[in-house]
Structure formats: structure tokens, C-alpha cells
């Protein structure tokens, strides 16, 4: 067979490529390329008309330079000239250049389309194919407009050459995928379907891709293809390995065509015609039988080709899900592959078995392989194979093997790859809940989960265990005991502290009889963890402490002591300070009755979908679907709670649905409780109104702050004496804020003094203030400028403290300056494709923050848009497929880094709820922006 010799073709090109390859450095290469570009430019511009060969050579060099990664901004016209050459080699280079360097210049497009049109009507099959390949490679809308009508004609014309038909079929497929509205099959449908009968296997191979795509979109119009596909398949499957000559690959007759036929059949339900169905079942049986025959070759190509067909046949069998016999045989075959020495086959068998596990006919058969799959989870070297094994274990899990599977998954978690841990944790949590027969096992499992992989246990998981413990009387004592024991470990995960704080706060009394876990021991144990925990956990612990005071009056003095200490009552965190102050007051003022009412045991949670399951469904994971199906059945016994609980429960759940933390983080539930029991509620208000002045004077005025998240100008503060207006502007990571202090009285303020302070030691904001005059005349306004530089992302805002004397009395006002991280947003416009791609790139769990919350204002579209724009991001139109949703993008500019941020807001007008999702490259940013924005609607 004559081969291509190296020197053949264009000598100048070969020399140029050698030169480039001989370049020792990147600089040398660039120099050589620039020299060549200058040369080509001068040749193209020169007076002398270039002959076809030279033009071809230079265009080809440009193409090579482009493929090396350099920009090419000329040569298009010369390439278009080559299209009208009569020489194949010149035409080919012209088409290649145009396909690779697609240009949107409309004049060029007109010329290109003209050339293509000429070649399509040339009746020269070689030229026709070149033109069709160009259309197929470019696939632009302009080309679809110009040729979508012509190509079907070429495809079905009797005198079209086979190779042209192949190209025409796939060319049409590309146009259909790109612009389905322009490709109208109508009258051609039946003739296209009949290409399945074509004598030339290559034509069938190409046409079937087109037919499969069209069938999946319009199954009814193409349904005649089923019987044709079955008979074609049957002929191939029953042929001997030599019958098909050219189309036999390593002794396997037409493997690719067989796969494509089986794939086409998966667009349809099982054939209704008995004869057709019988023939198809026969084919599938033959394929399964062949898998058992000794191989005709030891080459991997032979077994791969054979198994490609086998896996496709099994897909079809699973798709039909109606032939128990075939399903079980498929399962047995896959079972053999589970132990095959080829990693590819083990992987594919695990993957395929995962879908088999969800069929009622083969579920039991799949279960018999449990030991092998567990072994795979432990021993496979390729993480993707282990992932498939974990998926399969999840899919095959039922009541009979749940304990074994959950135990195996837990022990695997200890060494599992970081990339799959969170998903594994969710799966274990779901299985444990779903198949829990006794709930002590469930509690053990979840606590183990936190112990082993605490970092990967998302909020949903620990919320869920608490919901379930609260709803099941029989497990509460056990849960208290177990979590108490777990907390004894010298180092335990913060999530364990959260669960511990919550459960002991609610049910610590159930184990208080044992002197080893007496109230004080419990309290000391919890409090020993306090200092190691983050603010939200500390807040939760404070709530647990006030519950302790209610449960165990003997701890009151100790706990009050703790609450009274400076580190609590003067904590720099507003939330902690407020809780400490309020709880201290509550415990000292309220009578035991009030205390008992306020801190009554949490009412059972109403039934609702497991938030964990919802989370897993969002992730991929083939197993998720099967659980969803069975979920309804299992639910009833899962949470014995049912509907009991009455109004209080519903009130609590309303609070909990928008933000799961509300119902779990303690006294915040004062609001729903007050709704449920008005008498206690009003008492509560009294308590706080008495405690009010004392508490707030120490605190900081917060409400002005949140109003400025989405706007820059307005009135920040106002009382009878003073009004503070604000105007601010931000660019990049810099901001300037103008504060206007207006004296509303007719008397002057003396010793007027303002300070801006920033409590966190590490410098994250650079704030410079100019001092103001100490005298503010009655009715006058003074201005102050504050310059702000954002060094890195931050949460806490600077505090503005204003002191002055009015009529002799010292006035002291503290405000949070409305400097929030979003002020440093630069809007980023992007197209839908970019958005989704970036969205997917930010898929790590910590990069996402999400809140579901109830609308506190109207849901007017324009208002929403204005707020989102005010946030500082770009509001992207036509990105989210659901027009009700909003998506935004922006980059937060800090001195240290830039943080890209994507946002999606999904309003549900009916439920008056929102779901807000933030993704950014930095977890603290996602969380902070999400927190801020969630307060705005």
C-alpha cells in the first residue's frame, strides 16, 4: 500500500515546520513566526498575482501558526479564493482554513456560501463532500439558512454517491442540532428512515445518527424505524464473523453500527408487533450468548468491540425493564465482569449494574454481588471505580442489607477521597434514615458520621438528626446518652458540639439521674468546648444554657455567672452579646412558669421531605432517583410524628422552612412560640420591654445598616436630635463615604466628636476619617468624609461612634457604617454558556451558600431588579431558562484578591418564598453575600 511520503506536498511548509521545531526557545519561535507572517503579508499584498500553489502554501502556513496558538487576523480572503480553485488540494486547504478559523464577517460569509453552493451543485463527489464537511464543521446559523433546504435533497436523491450521502446525513444532523427550527424533514421523513435499509453499511452508519437524533425529538414521525432497525440488527447479529467483510472489526461484525441500532431502539418502548419483538428478543439473547462463547481473538480490540455491543444491549434491556429473564441474565453477565482483570470492564459493570438495581426484576440478583462490590470499594486503585462501587452499594441498599452497607460505607469514609466525601456522607445519612428499624442505630450512625467526617457533614445532616430525635420519644434518652459520651472525646468536631448542645438542651434531663451525667457535669462538658467554637455554635450553646436553667434550676447560678462574664455580655459579636444579655435578663426576671413556657420542649416537626435527600438530588448520582421512587412508601414509618403537634408545630415549621437555622438555634423561636401561645408571648414582650433600655444602650443600632446593602445614599439614622445622611461611592476596592450630620434642634451641639473603629485586629479594611468641628450649630449640617480601602473580604462593618453634649447631657450613639462586601462588586456581563460553565466550576460545597426564605416585601419584578442591580452585580438577561429567576454575576475587588461571584435568585410567587444561591471562589464571600442579600427581600 503506497503511503504518504514526508517530503510530498508543500516543500516550503515542511521547511517552515522544521524551523519551528528546531527553535530552542519560545522567543526564537515567536521571532521565526513573526518573520514568516511579515513575509506572507508582503506576498499577499504584493503586486504580483500569486499562483494557486503559493496561495495554498501560505494559507497552510497561517493555519499552522494559528494551531500553534497564535492569533491570525488575515488570510481569510486568500483562503476564500482557494475555494474556487479546480484543484482538490487547493480547495481542501481553503475549506480547512475556513472551518478552523471561522470568521463572522458577513461579506466573507456570502462569498463562502457562494463557493459552497457551487461545489454542492458540481456533481463532483469529492468537491461535494468537501463542501458538506465544511458546513458540518462550521454549523453556523447562516449556513443552516442557506443550505438546510438543499441537503435533504442530496441525501435522498437516487443518483447521489454513497460517500456524499454519508456526509450529507451528518451535515444535516449538525445543522439540526444547531438550528432545529431551520431543518424541516416533513416530506423526506420516510425516505430518510429507509436509509436504514441501504446496502452500503457506511451510509446506514452515518444515517442512523441523524435518525436517532430526529427520533428522540419526534418519536411518532419516525416510529417506522423500529422494525427496520430490528431487522437490520438481526441480520448483523446472526451473520458470521466474515460475512460483512469490510465492516468486520477484529472478528466482530459491524460493532459500531450494532451499538447505534441498539441506541436508536432506546428511543422507543418495546415493539408492539409480536413478530418484531420476538426477533429483537432473539437478537438480545444471541448477544448475551456470544458473551459466553470463547473469544475468537485474544486481542483487547476483539473483546472491547464485542462488549461494546453487549453493554448497549444491556442498556436496551434495562430501558425496556419488562423481560425478567433478560434482566437477570444481564445481571449475571455483569457479575462476571465485576471480577474481570480489565479495569474498564469492572467500571462499566458497576455503572450498568447501578441502573439494574432499580428494576424490581433484577434488584435481588444485583444484591447477590454485594461482597464483590464492597471489595471493589476497598481495593480498586482508580477513584472513579470506587465511586461507581459506592453508587452501586447505595442503589442496591434495602432493609435487608442496610446495616452492612452503611457500616461499609462508614468505614470507607475514613479513607475516602476528599472529592467524594460529601456525597458519601449524604448517602450514608439518607440510607441510615431510610432503613432505620431502630432509631438508636440511626443516631449511632449519624454521630459516627460526624466523628469520622465532620467537615463534610453539611448543615442538612445535623438538622435532620435533630428533627428525627425530636419527633421520636423512644430515642431521645438514647440520643442524649450517646451524644454525651461522644462529647467526652478530647477533640470532637464542631458539628458534634452543635448536635450535643441542641440535644442536651432539650433532653439532658433524661440522663441527669445518673451522677456521671448530672446537670452540672453536662454543662461543664458543653462549656469546655465553647471557646473552641465558631460564633453560630456559641450562639447555639448559649441557647442550650438557658434551656439548662429551665431544666435544672440548680445550674442557674453557675450559668448566670457565665452569662454575666465580660466575654459574653460584652462580646464584640452582636448576636452573642444580645443573647447573653437577653438570657441573663430572662433568667433573672421571668418567673419559673414563664421560663418553662418560653423554653418548652420543641414541638415535633411536621412531615416534610428530608432536606438531605433534596440536597443529594441536586447533586448528580444515579442512585438518587431510585430512592426518590421509594421515598413515599418509607416515609410513614420514618417519622412517627405524623400530624400531631397542632398549631405550635406548624408555627415552628413555618419558621423553619425559610431558614433551617431559625427553628434550631434556640430562642429565636420566641416569635413562633408567641404566635402559638399568646399569653406567654405577651409576658415575654413585657420582660423584654423592661429589659429593653439596659440591653440596647450597650448594643449597636443595626437596622439602618441593612437598608444600605443595595443602595448607597439615604438617611442612615434619625432621632429627635440628630439626623445622619449618607452618600457613598465605590470604585474597585476603594470607597468614599460622605456623612452629613444634621442638628435638628435650635441649640448647638458641643464637644461633637465622631470616631470610626474597627474591631477585628487583622486589618481588612483601611479606613481614614477626617475629624469634624466640635461645634454644630442649631439647624446646621456638618459633613465628614471617610475613605475606605478594602484589603480582603470581610464580614464585620466598621462602627461609627458619635458623642456630643446637648443641653449638658452626653449623647452617645453607635452605628454600624453600611460598608458591606458587596460594595466592592464590579458587575460582569456574560453569556448563558459562560455563566453555566462558571457555575459548574464553582461546584465545591463550600463555594456555595444558599438560603430559602419567606418574602418580607412584595415580589414586584422591577423592585427586585433594582435591588439586584443595587447589590453591584450585573443582572444577566436570558441566562436562566426560567424567566422568573434572576441570575447575576460580579467580581468583588479587594486589594488582596478578586473574588468572582455568581448569584441566582428563584422567587416562588405562590409560596411567597425565595431561594437564593451564591457561588464564589471563596466560601466566606458566598456566605456573607448570601446573608446580606437574604435580608433584602
Amino acid at each position: 500500500m503506497p503511503a504518504v511520503s514526508k517530503g510530498d506536498g508543500m516543500r516550503g511548509l515542511a521547511v517552515f515546520i522544521s524551523d519551528i521545531r528546531n527553535c530552542k526557545s519560545k522567543e526564537a519561535e515567536i521571532k521565526r513566526i513573526n518573520k514568516e507572517l511579515a513575509n506572507i503579508r508582503s506576498k499577499f499584498k504584493g503586486d504580483k498575482a500569486l499562483d494557486g500553489y503559493s496561495k495554498k502554501k501560505y494559507v497552510c502556513k497561517l493555519l499552522f501558526i494559528f494551531l500553534l496558538g497564535h492569533d491570525i487576523d488575515f488570510g481569510h480572503m486568500e483562503a476564500v479564493n482557494l475555494l474556487s480553485s479546480n484543484k482538490y488540494t487547493e480547495k481542501q486547504i481553503g475549506y480547512l482554513f475556513i472551518s478552523v478559523l471561522v470568521n463572522s464577517n458577513s461579506e466573507l460569509i456570502r462569498l463562502i456560501n457562494n463557493a459552497i453552493k457551487n461545489d454542492l451543485s458540481s456533481r463532483n463527489p469529492t468537491f461535494m463532500c468537501l463542501a458538506l464537511h465544511c458546513i458540518a464543521n462550521v454549523g453556523s446559523r447562516e449556513m443552516a439558512e442557506a443550505f438546510a433546504g438543499e441537503i435533504p435533497r442530496i441525501l435522498v436523491a437516487g443518483d447521489t454517491m454513497d460517500s456524499v450521502k454519508q456526509s450529507a446525513a451528518l451535515c444535516l444532523l449538525r445543522l439540526y442540532k444547531a438550528s432545529p427550527d431551520l431543518v424541516l424533514m416533513g416530506e423526506w421523513t420516510s425516505r430518510v428512515v429507509h436509509l436504514l435499509n441501504d446496502q452500503h453499511m457506511g451510509v446506514v452508519t452515518a444515517a442512523i445518527s441523524l435518525i436517532t437524533c430526529l427520533s428522540s425529538k419526534n418519536p411518532d414521525e419516525f416510529k417506522t424505524c423500529v422494525s427496520l432497525a430490528v431487522s437490520r440488527l438481526s441480520r448483523i447479529v446472526s451473520s458470521a464473523s466474515t460475512d460483512l467483510q469490510d465492516y468486520t472489526y477484529y472478528f466482530v461484525p459491524a460493532p459500531w453500527l450494532s451499538c447505534k441500532l441498539l441506541r436508536l431502539l432506546q428511543c422507543y418502548p418495546p415493539p408492539e408487533d409480536g413478530a418484531v419483538k420476538g426477533r429483537l428478543v432473539e437478537c438480545l439473547e444471541t448477544i448475551l450468548n456470544k458473551a459466553q462463547e470463547p473469544p475468537k481473538s485474544k486481542k483487547v480490540q476483539h473483546s472491547n468491540a464485542k462488549n461494546a455491543i453487549l453493554f448497549e444491549a444491556i442498556s436496551l434491556i434495562i430501558h425496556y425493564d419488562s423481560e425478567p429473564n433478560l434482566l437477570v441474565r444481564a445481571c449475571n453477565q455483569l457479575g462476571q465482569f465485576l471480577q474481570h482483570r480489565e479495569t474498564n470492564l469492572r467500571y462499566l459493570a458497576l455503572e450498568s449494574m447501578c441502573t439494574l438495581a432499580s428494576s424490581e426484576f433484577s434488584h435481588e440478583a444485583v444484591k447477590t454481588h454485594i461482597e464483590t462490590v464492597i471489595n471493589a470499594l476497598k481495593t480498586e486503585r482508580d477513584v472513579s471505580v470506587r465511586q461507581r462501587a459506592a453508587d452501586l452499594l447505595y442503589a442496591m441498599c434495602d432493609r435487608s442489607n442496610a446495616k452492612q452497607i452503611v457500616a461499609e460505607m462508614l468505614s470507607y469514609l475514613e479513607t475516602a477521597d476528599y472529592s467524594i466525601r460529601e456525597e458519601m456522607v449524604l448517602k450514608v445519612a439518607i440510607l441510615a434514615e431510610k432503613y432505620a428499624v431502630d432509631y438508636s442505630w440511626y443516631v449511632d450512625t449519624i454521630l459516627n458520621l460526624i466523628r469520622i467526617a465532620g467537615d463534610y457533614v453539611s448543615e442538612e445532616v445535623w438538622y435532620r438528626v435533630i428533627q428525627i430525635v425530636i419527633n421520636r420519644d423512644d430515642v431521645q434518652g438514647y440520643a442524649a446518652k450517646t451524644v454525651f459520651e461522644a462529647l467526652q472525646a478530647p477533640a470532637c468536631h464542631e458539628n458534634m458540639v452543635k448536635v450535643g448542645g441542641y440535644i442536651l438542651g432539650e433532653f439532658g434531663n433524661l440522663i441527669a439521674g445518673d451522677p456521671r451525667s448530672s446537670p452540672l457535669v453536662q454543662f461543664n462538658l458543653l462549656h469546655s468546648k465553647f471557646h473552641l467554637c465558631s460564633v453560630p455554635t456559641r450562639a447555639l450553646l448559649l441557647s442550650a444554657y438557658i434551656k439548662f436553667i429551665n431544666l435544672f434550676p440548680e445550674t442557674k447560678a453557675t450559668i448566670q455567672e457565665v452569662l454575666r462574664s465580660d466575654s459574653q455580655i460584652r462580646n464584640s459579636d452582636v448576636e452573642l452579646q444580645q443573647r447573653a444579655v437577653e438570657y441573663l435578663k430572662l433568667s433573672s426576671i421571668a418567673s419559673t412558669d414563664v421560663l418553662a413556657t418560653v423554653l418548652e420542649e420543641m414541638p415535633p416537626f411536621p412531615e416534610r421531605e428530608s432536606s438531605i435527600l433534596a440536597k443529594l438530588k441536586k447533586k448528580k448520582g444515579p442512585g438518587a432517583v431510585s430512592v426518590e421512587l421509594e421515598d413515599g412508601k418509607e416515609r410513614g414509618e420514618l417519622n412517627g410524628g405524623g400530624d400531631r403537634g397542632g398549631d405550635a408545630a406548624i408555627a415552628a415549621s413555618n419558621a423553619s422552612t425559610p431558614s433551617p437555622s431559625a427553628d434550631l438555634l434556640g430562642l429565636r423561636s420566641a416569635a413562633p412560640v408567641s404566635g402559638a401561645t399568646p399569653s406567654a408571648g405577651s409576658l415575654l414582650v413585657d420582660v423584654f420591654s423592661e429589659a429593653g433600655p439596659a440591653a440596647t444602650s450597650a448594643g449597636v443600632n443595626d437596622d439602618g445598616f441593612l437598608r444600605f446593602v443595595c443602595k448607597n445614599n439615604g438617611v442612615l439614622f434619625e432621632n429627635q436630635l440628630l439626623q445622619i445622611g449618607i452618600k457613598s461611592e465605590y470604585r474597585q476596592n476603594l470607597g468614599r463615604m460622605y456623612l452629613f450630620y444634621g442638628n435638628k434642634t435650635s441649640v448647638q451641639f458641643v464637644s461633637f466628636n465622631t470616631t470610626v473603629s474597627y474591631e477585628i485586629k487583622s486589618r481588612i479594611l483601611n479606613v481614614q476619617t477626617k475629624t469634624v468641628e466640635p461645634l454644630v450649630e442649631g439647624g446646621a449640617q456638618v459633613q465628614q468624609v471617610i475613605n475606605i480601602e478594602c484589603l480582603t473580604d470581610f464580614i464585620d462593618a466598621p462602627l461609627l461612634n458619635i458623642k456630643f453634649r446637648y443641653g449638658g447631657a452626653l449623647q452617645n450613639i453607635s452605628l454600624k457604617l453600611p460598608v458591606t462586601i458587596n460594595k466592592f462588586f464590579q458587575p460582569t456581563e456574560m453569556a448563558a454558556a459562560d455563566f453555566f460553565q462558571r457555575w459548574k466550576q464553582l461546584s465545591q460545597p463550600q463555594q456555595e451558600a444558599q438560603k430559602i426564605f419567606k418574602a418580607s416585601h412584595g415580589m414586584d419584578t422591577e423592585v427586585l431588579k433594582a435591588k439586584l442591580l443595587g447589590l453591584g452585580t450585573a443582572l444577566l438577561e436570558n441566562v436562566d431558562p426560567n424567566p422568573e429567576n434572576y441570575v447575576c454575576a460580579g467580581v468583588i475587588q479587594t486589594k488582596a484578591q478578586q473574588v468572582g461571584c455568581l448569584l441566582r435568585l428563584e422567587p416562588n410567587a405562590q409560596a411567597q418564598m425565595y431561594r437564593l444561591t451564591l457561588r464564589s471562589s471563596k466560601d466566606t464571600v458566598s456566605q456573607r453575600v448570601c446573608d446580606l442579600l437574604a435580608e433584602q427581600f
Binding site: V4, A14, S163, C171, D246, K260, F311, N344, R381
Partner: protein
């Protein structure tokens, strides 16, 4: 070769990402890697990797052998193909690809037919 629309920067990034995920895998690993919302089927020949990115539901083994079929054609066409042949004749490689894969689908699988066509084109001027 691209069968979907991307801009040039995007293409470069994809190439780098694919390179990063594929070249770190060892011979005992599968020939399949999940990649964004797709999967990559790849096969290594000496220092050269041939990669195809397909839908997750596509048939892994069929594409794996599709690569081998393609390489066998190259080998025959260039007579014991080596990397240099592919570099110096890059514009011919495009022709071979278009004969066997078009619009992201398998166009022709018969090596005899492909080679016959290629030799016919070779003889044209």
C-alpha cells in the same frame, strides 16, 4: 477538533484541562474520565494521547475502539505513523478525521473504504 461552539480562550482552557486530567492517570486506571458534564474516552499510544469527549450516556467501549480504528487507519495511511507525520501533515490528518468522524458522529468505520478514499484523494492534485 471541535464539534460545539467555543471561543478561542475557552478552547485553550479546555485543552489544558483535558491535558491535566488525562495525563495524570496511570495504565491501571480506566480509559474513561468524567469531565464537566461529559466524559472523556482516551487511549495512549507511546507518548501520544488520543481523546474523545462524549455525552455521559454514550457507549464507552465503542468510542474507545473508534479511537483505535482511527489510529490503525493513520498507521496504514502514513505507513507506521509517528508523531512527526501528524505534525508535518496536519492538514491531511484533518481529512482523515473528516472521513471517519463528522459532526461529532462516527461516519465510516471500514478501514478498507476509508483508505481507498484517502488514496483516491491523494492521487488528485
Amino acid at each position: 477538533k471541535w464539534y460545539m461552539q467555543f471561543d478561542d480562550d475557552e478552547k485553550q482552557k479546555l485543552i489544558e484541562e483535558v491535558h491535566a486530567v488525562v495525563t495524570v492517570r496511570d495504565a491501571k486506571h480506566t480509559n474513561f474520565v468524567e469531565f464537566r458534564n461529559f466524559k472523556i474516552i482516551y487511549r495512549r499510544y507511546a507518548g501520544l494521547y488520543f481523546c474523545i469527549c462524549v455525552d455521559v450516556t454514550d457507549n464507552n467501549l465503542a468510542y474507545l475502539e473508534g479511537i483505535h480504528n482511527f489510529v490503525e487507519v493513520l498507521n496504514e495511511y502514513f505507513h507506521n505513523v509517528c508523531e512527526l507525520d501528524l505534525v508535518f501533515n496536519f492538514y491531511k490528518v484533518y481529512t482523515v478525521v473528516d472521513e471517519m468522524f463528522l459532526a461529532g458522529e462516527i461516519r465510516e468505520t471500514s478501514q478498507t473504504k476509508v483508505l481507498k478514499q484517502l488514496l483516491m484523494l491523494q492521487s488528485l492534485e
